[in-house]
């Protein structure tokens, strides 16, 4: 059979733009980080913490993570289905509409048009753009799968399809709002109901954007990189179905001790603990796939990114359920512990896998050797150290502040005023900023390495890494 002519231009473009939006997310992240310690660096009305923080999270999730998802899914789906994507035109439309949406999102957030719902701040006109974008993507991926030349659908395709449906359901339900003007709307849900819907969305956006898609990448790129297959197909099946079944019950663990009915909180807590099993199913499947291949951790920089990435996924999915237990939540919730948890996931898991995927793709779609493996290793260590400083300093800060919030005198009064606890946070917030700077340095090394590879890298001569899909 002839090798199909794959569309690689679309993969190139999405990689380029996702890296650009990723840089924006990190830089804005650093700005809000410094604003926490130096409030005089707020420049109203557009550049205050309250407006920039949603820009940071939206650029990170919708620009960087979703951009990489688009790039890698278009690459993976063509290989696993052995056909070119269903529609090149639709994909090109999607690329430019993606950038238009991210720009519209950034501008509207700076102008203060926001719904206040976390990770769903965009007002209704931009919401509609997001929906159009996702529908275009969904059609293209699903149609490619339907007209595939390979009967069996590999694990990565399952996670892709689940993510596509999941995001669609979550986003549409949580977006239900009544417009008052072009830039202002009110949620159709009120109070406790609104909170419950929002965190059903919020937590499962993590499942469907920051868990299922990176797993799709991991299951594809790990065997491709090591040259040995995934250890157990059975574990993959069990992990997949139990993951997408259980995740949806857990959103309310963000709302423990709030007025949301107790029974929902209890279900959320129970399912969060059960979720350890399918999460670790993938972690263990990944580890066991390395059997006899552990030397590649030393020889192959890509394996290092992938295995450390899945390790942080494992840590993340132990820490998460711990926070979902009522008694621990009572102590730690609302402190800096929580952003530390999130950033272990985004910087340690999602970004590690995203970087690995891009390192895998770029030489193949450009037909160039990677400019420097040493620089890739430097990149690895900088982002690892940066993220550890970031998270560990704020875990300490969170425990410290939670302890002070709960401290009581013998006469039953509180030991500390709120401000006495808050001012203790400053040194840790500074440490977090330093962690962020180191992480950014690592990403700049990565970008430099990519540019050098694409611009001047040596052409691939060995047939080990064939240039795929170029005529």
């Amino acid at each position: 059979m002839d090798t199909p002519q794959y569309n690689t231009d679309i993969v190139r473009s999405f990689i380029l733009w996702s890296v650009i939006w990723g840089l924006v997310a990190i830089v804005v992240g650093l700005v809000v980080s410094v604003q926490m310690t130096n409030p005089e660096l707020n420049f109203p009305p557009y550049f205050t913490f309250g407006r920039l923080r949603p820009l940071h999270t939206n650029a990170g999730i919708y620009g960087w993570a979703v951009g990489v998802i688009f790039a890698t899914f278009y690459y993976i789906v063509q290989r696993l289905c052995k056909v070119r994507i269903w529609s090149d035109k639709l994909a090109t439309f999607q690329l430019w509409f993606f950038n238009a949406t991210i720009i519209a999102a950034a501008i509207s957030l700076l102008l203060g048009f926001n719904t206040s719902k976390e990770y769903h701040e965009l007002e209704w006109p931009v919401d509609i753009m997001v929906v159009v974008l996702w529908v275009a993507f969904a059609i293209n991926i699903i149609m490619t799968i339907i007209k595939r030349q390979e009967e069996q659908m590999y694990i990565s395709l399952w996670y892709m399809m689940a993510a596509i449906i999941g995001v669609a359901i979550l986003y549409l339900v949580n977006a239900a709002e009544v417009p008052v003007s072009l830039f202002k709307s009110y949620s159709i849900y009120a109070g406790t109901n609104d909170a419950n819907v929002q965190w059903w969305f919020g937590h499962n956006a993590v499942a469907m954007v920051l868990t299922a898609p990176p797993l799709a990448m991991f299951y594809y790129f790990l065997p491709k990189t090591t040259g040995v297959p995934i250890y157990s197909h059975k574990i993959s099946i069990i992990s997949f179905w139990s993951l997408i079944f259980m995740y949806l019950w857990t959103g309310t663990h963000h709302l423990l001790w709030t007025p949301v009915p107790d029974w929902i909180q209890t279900l959320a807590m129970a399912f969060s603990l059960m979720l350890i099993a399918p999460s670790w199913g993938s972690v263990i499947n990944g580890y066991l796939s390395m059997k006899g291949q552990w030397h590649q951790m030393r020889d192959n920089y890509l394996v290092k990114f992938l295995i450390i990435g899945i390790t942080f996924y494992g840590l993340q999915t132990l820490q998460g359920p711990m926070q979902a237990i009522r008694s621990f939540s009572a102590f730690i919730h609302y402190t800096d512990w929580v952003p530390a948890h999130i950033h272990m996931g985004t910087m340690g898991w999602v970004s590690m896998i995203a970087f690995a995927s891009i390192y895998y793709l770029v030489p193949r779609i450009y037909g160039k050797e990677l400019y420097s493996i040493q620089l890739a290793n430097l990149h690895f260590w900088l982002i690892l150290i940066g993220q550890l400083i970031w998270s560990i300093s704020l875990w300490i800060a969170g425990v410290l502040q939670a302890g002070m919030w709960n401290a009581m005198n013998p006469d039953g009064s509180l030991t500390y005023t709120f401000m006495e606890t808050m001012v203790e946070m400053y040194p840790y917030w500074w440490a977090r900023t330093i962690g962020g700077v180191i992480f950014l340095a690592g990403v700049l090394v990565f970008v430099f390495n990519l540019i050098k590879t694409i611009r001047g890298g040596e052409s691939l001569v060995s047939s080990a890494v064939p240039v795929e899909g170029r005529a």
């Binding site: 310690t37 130096n38 409030p39 707020n42 109203p44 009305p45 205050t48 913490f49 309250g50 407006r51 949603p54 203060g112 926001n114 206040s116 699903i142 009967e151 659908m153 399952w158 399809m161 449906i165 999941g166 359901i169 008052v180 009110y186 949620s187 159709i188 849900y189 009120a190 109070g191 406790t192 109901n193 909170a195 419950n196 997408i244 079944f245 995740y247 949806l248 019950w249 959103g251 309310t252 001790w257 709030t258 007025p259 949301v260 009915p261 959320a268 009572a330 609302y334 402190t335 929580v338 919030w405 709960n406 009581m408 005198n409 006469d411 009064s413 509180l414 709120f418 401000m419 808050m422």
Partner: protein, 287 residues
């Protein structure tokens, strides 16, 4: 079989996703915001308060402030009565937040006088030393839009009068956000219910104790000076240089506040610290 049939796969995946969704997200609509959790005294926002709420949303205040008090000892002591579902039926969207870089605001309404809020919003650090809140004085330069406000009230189906709408023309965004903050948590009479009744004789345990006076001075600088002035000369609150009041009465005022006069209750500091303040205030008095 499902591994070879994408349409079947999509149906199964949707079913898996919708199971938990139905039970934990759709079913609760049957009981939440119904007669079951209704609180009669909770009222919708006035046009001015709603405008303030929208400023709160626009400026992303919910990124640093929560609005829900959990039923935990330290939390109720710090912020007040724990939050009830029925208190939020007019909140579209909800604003419970997820991070307390600043304190919870669910029970802020009525804690401080309006003048405190105007001053604090314009310059947080003059009122709260060490705060990292941005300045929001610029809000007072932004007028409100009465026509848009009317449209909002119609969409939300809240009662309003044309006079309330017309009055917005004379107000600005700062007036609106202060009006909103003063409503927070105030629809149930929790402040009265939470007030401690002091029983028995109050006896000053620190008379003439220099350490207590020094500690009281430190407490004064942090908790009292923003309203009563560095030198007790009075600003938002009255001057405190010449207090003609016995120790027990002074203790009671600091401990319980004066709700009509805008004096917050400082009972959460604990009796020891309140006595330290009493001794500091009385000691300077004797000079």
């Amino acid at each position: 079989m499902w591994e070879k049939r994408p349409i079947l796969f999509l149906i199964l995946a949707t079913a898996a996703i919708m199971t938990g969704t139905t039970i934990t997200m759709i079913v609760p609509f049957l009981s939440v915001n119904t007669e079951a959790d209704r609180i009669e005294s909770v009222k919708p926002y006035t046009p001015l308060q709603q405008e303030g709420r929208d400023v709160y949303i626009r400026e992303g205040c919910n990124n640093c402030h929560t609005q829900t008090v959990r039923p935990l000892v330290s939390e109720v002591l710090r912020y007040g009565e724990y939050s009830k579902s029925g208190e939020f039926v007019y909140d579209r969207p909800f604003l419970w937040g997820s991070k307390r870089t600043g304190p919870d605001l669910a029970r802020l309404g009525g804690k401080y006088p309006d003048a405190w809020h105007y001053k604090h919003m314009a310059s947080p650090r003059t009122m709260i030393p060490g705060s990292n809140m941005p300045d929001y004085g610029w809000l007072s330069k932004n007028p409100l839009d009465p026509d848009l406000a009317r449209r909002k009230m119609k969409v939300l189906d809240f009662p309003y009068t044309e006079k309330q709408i017309a009055d917005l023309a004379t107000k600005n965004e700062m007036d609106a956000i202060v009006a909103y903050l003063q409503k927070l948590g105030n629809d149930i009479p929790w402040r009265k219910a939470a007030q401690t009744t002091i029983v028995g004789d109050l006896k000053n345990p620190f008379i003439g104790n220099k350490d207590a006076i020094e500690a009281g001075e430190h407490l004064y600088e942090n908790s009292c000076a923003p309203c009563h002035g560095e030198d007790r000369q009075g600003e938002i609150g009255p001057e405190l240089t010449d207090i003609d009041m016995d120790d027990a009465d002074l203790y009671e005022i600091i401990h319980n506040g004066i709700s009509d006069g805008g004096m917050p209750a400082f009972g959460s500091l604990g009796s020891e610290k309140v006595w330290q303040l009493v001794n500091y205030l009385k000691e300077k008095d004797d000079d």
